[in-house]
Symmetry: C2
Subunit: 228 residues, 2 copies
Amino acid sequence: IVRAENLVKVYRMGKVDVRALDGVSLTIPEGEFLAIMGPSGSGKSTLMNLIGCLDKPTSGTLLVDGQDVTRLGDRRLAKLRGRTIGFVFQTFNLIPRISALDNVLLPMGLVGAIPKSQRRKRAIELLEQVGLGHRVRHMPNELSGGERQRVAIARALANDPKLLLADEPTGNLDTKTGRAILELFKELHRQGRTIVLVTHDPDVASYAERIVRLVDGRIVAVETSPSA
Amino acid sequence: IVRAENLVKVYRMGKVDVRALDGVSLTIPEGEFLAIMGPSGSGKSTLMNLIGCLDKPTSGTLLVDGQDVTRLGDRRLAKLRGRTIGFVFQTFNLIPRISALDNVLLPMGLVGAIPKSQRRKRAIELLEQVGLGHRVRHMPNELSGGERQRVAIARALANDPKLLLADEPTGNLDTKTGRAILELFKELHRQGRTIVLVTHDPDVASYAERIVRLVDGRIVAVETSPSA
Ligand SMILES: Nc1ncnc2c1ncn2[C@@H]1O[C@H](COP(=O)(O)OP(=O)(O)OP(=O)(O)O)[C@@H](O)[C@H]1O
Ligand SMILES: Nc1ncnc2c1ncn2[C@@H]1O[C@H](COP(=O)(O)OP(=O)(O)OP(=O)(O)O)[C@@H](O)[C@H]1O
Ligand SMILES: [Mg+2]
Ligand SMILES: [Mg+2]
């Protein structure tokens, strides 16, 4: 479902260039549960943003769900994102002026794949699944850090994506709450979805089937997860 | 340095009240290294915001550095905060339009305790201590999640605070980078500062001398850290 070859991402900053990705090649078979690990600043979020079609590479090839995303225009890229990909951002990126419930409903309205009559029920169920059934009316600034993270997770699942990209989804959660989220991911994976999870926590990475390690914008190791 | 008695914090939300803190009493001796743990939503950040004089309790007594903070006006509260407390926010809260360096310089300019001629050198050293010597000119949106977190840490240390409050400061960091930060905290503690650290990670909590556990807005356990 993802085929990346020699991805390079350079941020030009006046005299200095930052080579955030320095030639990354990676194939993710559909239905895989993959973890990406690596030091802070090694390029994990940059790679996720490319796979998630939120940004384009400086050079290299990238096919997502069979489509060459470097060739798609903004509208078709947005359509691919909305229908196929669910993205949990490292910094949540919730819409501040609307409730948790409306944050989860929003992508359903934009994509239109979920029938109108089912949306509210689905949004509430997703929030219950991440333990926030009692917080649906809260605004993001009326939620704890871990609660905002969980709204971001529920929102990413709104349109039942084929490919779930989660950038450090348990960083703000205690072990028990984090484990509940990972069990949810495990079940979504069992149902056939592809999951890519960025994490700093080896216990979290052990839920995946395969682990890719990034250092300084390059893949330095690919391992089969010990628990796979 | 902190004496809290029966702290209650209620958020009124129309028909429903959220009792984020439900009678918390805690004494933190000056020079202690304390960890606060508990499930997502248990009231840790709320408690930190009260201790950090960013918010007032609904009821209860709170003395910080000998002063009754429920009685101080905004200006004197701001002065106490600026001179005595360094706060690392769970969501970083960097100023988006200025660089990492300027984010660290800003509190120095506001408080005036660090002599003008020394500020730039001090800010650069703090950024180097958190591993960001090569990122001083970057804007927050040109930094990775873990890099933003580290700028927030450097900024909290800008005015050499007596009391450092760090709300999940390693949540976005890999083990090696996180450990470097904790070694820095350990050294600051050794020099006599009081450190209060909210964390979900037992390995991080083990750097502290004492661990307080919150559940549903109440302290349910107080333990001596196994490694103390
Ligand atoms: N817009 C930008 N301009 C310049 N440099 C950038 C920009 N965005 C990211 N970088 C740099 O690129 C590198 C990779 O960033 P990225 O966010 O991918 O790291 P990461 O592996 O996700 O780190 P973390 O674990 O801290 O989240 C970082 O060193 C960062 O400073
Ligand atoms: N402004 C607010 N209005 C209403 N409820 C709030 C508000 N701020 C926080 N809460 C609620 O108070 C509870 C405690 O929040 P707090 O941020 O202290 O939790 P926390 O222990 O820091 O959690 P986490 O580990 O997820 O960061 C949460 O359940 C949250 O939903
Ligand atoms: Mg990142
Ligand atoms: Mg919190």
